[in-house]
Amino acid sequence: MSRKEWPLWEIFIRGQHGLNHRHVGSLHAPDAEMAIRNARDVYTRRKEGVSIWVVRSADITASAPSEKGPMFDPAESKVYRHPTFFDIPDEVGHM
C-alpha cells in the first residue's frame, strides 16, 4: 500500500466561451498543477473545454441531503416569481 494516497480533486470545465464552468467528475493528483494536467488528459481528450478549474474535494461544503425539504421547498409557494403568474391581456401586446 502506498504511504499516502494522492488527494481527490473535483474538476470543472468551461465547455465553450461564454458558458459557466461545469462539474465533470473527479480525479486524484498530488497537487493543483498536476490535477489540471491530469484533467486535460482525462476529461478533454476531444476538445471538450477551453478552461479547467480544479478544487480539492475536501474543500467543498455541500448542503445536506436530509435538509432538502427545508432548504428548497419554501420556493414552491412563491409562484408569483414566475412571469406566467400574471395575466396580461392580448391587446397589450408582447411583454
Partner: protein, 332 residues
C-alpha cells in the same frame, strides 16, 4: 459483461423492508437518481462497489491485450488510433474508480483488491491477442459487447455511475468502428489477411459471448440488482441482442461465425446460436485462463514500480505547500 456475476445482497419483499428501504425502493421506481451522501441500504452500496469496481478493473486490465500491439501497428495512423483507443480505456477506468469512491471505498483499497485477486475483471481480457487482426476483433466484438451493456446502464439508479456511463458511451462507438474498419481492411485484403481476420473471429466469438455471463434467469442476485436498477437487462437478453446485431456484420465482411447451429429463427425473430463452453468460462474466472497470470502480474508490476513516482510527487507537493505557507508571497 465488464462486470460479470456480481454478487448482490438478498432480495426483500415489500413487507420485509424497513420503512426506509421501502422509501428508497419507491425513489428508484420513480426513476429518481440516488446521490452519494443520500441514505441507501448497505446491500445497495456494497453491490455497487463490487460492480463499479469490477467494471473499472476491466477497463484498466483491458488496456493490456491492445497495448500489446501499439508498437507493432502496421501504419503510423493505425498506431495513433490504437493509442487513442487504449488511452480512452484508461479514462474509462478513472471515471469508474471515481464513481466507486463516492461510495466510501478508497482508490488504494480497490487496487489492493484487484492485485490480491479479491476483485475480478472481465474474463475476456484473459485471452491473448496473437495477430494484428485481433485488434480488429477486439474493437468490433469486445467493445461491441461492452456497448450492449453500457448503453442501458446510462439509466442506472446511482447518479455517479450513470454519469460515468454516459461519458463512456460517447467514446465507445469510436472503439467499435475502428475495430470493424480493421476487420474490413483485412477481410478485403490478400487471402492470407482474410484468413487472419477469420482466425481472429474464430478465437474471439465465444469469449465475447461469455462476456455477458451465464444465464441468470433464476438468479436471486440479478433479481435484486434489477430491482435496484443497477442491472438493466438479463444476461441472456443482452447476449441475444449482441448476436442479432453482430451476425449481419460478419456476413458483410464475408466471414463465417464459428457456430454450425447458427440460424435465423423466423418465429422468434432472433438468431438461434450455440452457448459458449461455460466450463471454460468458470476456469477463466477462477484464474486458469490463458493469460490470467500474465495480466495480473503486469498490473502488480506497474503498481509496484510506480510507487516511487507516486510518493515522490506527493512529497514534492507537500514540500512546496509547506514552503508557500512559510513565505506566502515568495511563491507567487
Amino acid at each position: 459483461m465488464y462486470a460479470q456475476m456480481v454478487k448482490s445482497e438478498g432480495m426483500k419483499s415489500a413487507e420485509e423492508m424497513t420503512p426506509e428501504e421501502r422509501a428508497f425502493q419507491n425513489r428508484i421506481d420513480r426513476n429518481e437518481k440516488i446521490e452519494p451522501k443520500e441514505w441507501m441500504p448497505e446491500g445497495y452500496r456494497k453491490t455497487l462497489i463490487r460492480q463499479i469496481g469490477q467494471h473499472a478493473h476491466s477497463e484498466i486490465v483491458g488496456q493490456l491485450p491492445e497495448g500489446n500491439w501499439i508498437t507493432r501497428a502496421p501504419t503510423l495512423e493505425r498506431k495513433a488510433i490504437l493509442l487513442a483507443k487504449v488511452q480512452d480505456e484508461a479514462g474509462h477506468g478513472l471515471y469508474l474508480y471515481s464513481a466507486a469512491e463516492t461510495l466510501g471505498v478508497s482508490r488504494d483499497e480497490l487496487m489492493e483488491k484487484l492485485h490480491s485477486g479479491a476483485m475480478k475483471y472481465s474474463s475476456i481480457f484473459n485471452y491473448p491477442t496473437l495477430t494484428w487482426a485481433d485488434m480488429g476483433a477486439v474493437g468490433w466484438l469486445v467493445d461491441g459487447a461492452a456497448i450492449m451493456n453500457q448503453v442501458p446502464l446510462q439509466r442506472t439508479s446511482y447518479g455517479p455511475y450513470s454519469r460515468a456511463m454516459i461519458r463512456i458511451c460517447k467514446e465507445e462507438s469510436f472503439h467499435q468502428r475502428q475495430g470493424y474498419a480493421i476487420m474490413m481492411k483485412m477481410a478485403q485484403g490478400t487471402p492470407e489477411q482474410k484468413e487472419m481476420a477469420q482466425d481472429a473471429l474464430n478465437r474471439f466469438w465465444y469469449p465475447a459471448l461469455m462476456m455477458f455471463g451465464p444465464s441468470d434467469k433464476d438468479s436471486v442476485h440479478s433479481a435484486q440488482s434489477m430491482a435496484w436498477k443497477i442491472k438493466m437487462n438479463t444476461n441472456d437478453e443482452l447476449r441475444q441482442k449482441f448476436v442479432d446485431e453482430t451476425v449481419p456484420q460478419a456476413e458483410y465482411l464475408g466471414l463465417t461465425v464459428p457456430d454450425e447451429t447458427l440460424r435465423w429463427n423466423e418465429e422468434r425473430g432472433h438468431y438461434d446460436f450455440a452457448e459458449p463452453d461455460w466450463n471454460e468460462f468458470f476456469e477463466v474466472i477462477k484464474g486458469n485462463g490463458p493469460c490470467n497470470r500474465e495480466r495480473l502480474e503486469a498490473r502488480r508490476t506497474a503498481w509496484e514500480e510506480g510507487r516511487w513516482f507516486r510518493e515522490g510527487l506527493m512529497a514534492y507537493a507537500e514540500k512546496s505547500a509547506a514552503r508557500r505557507k512559510a513565505a506566502p508571497h515568495a511563491a507567487e
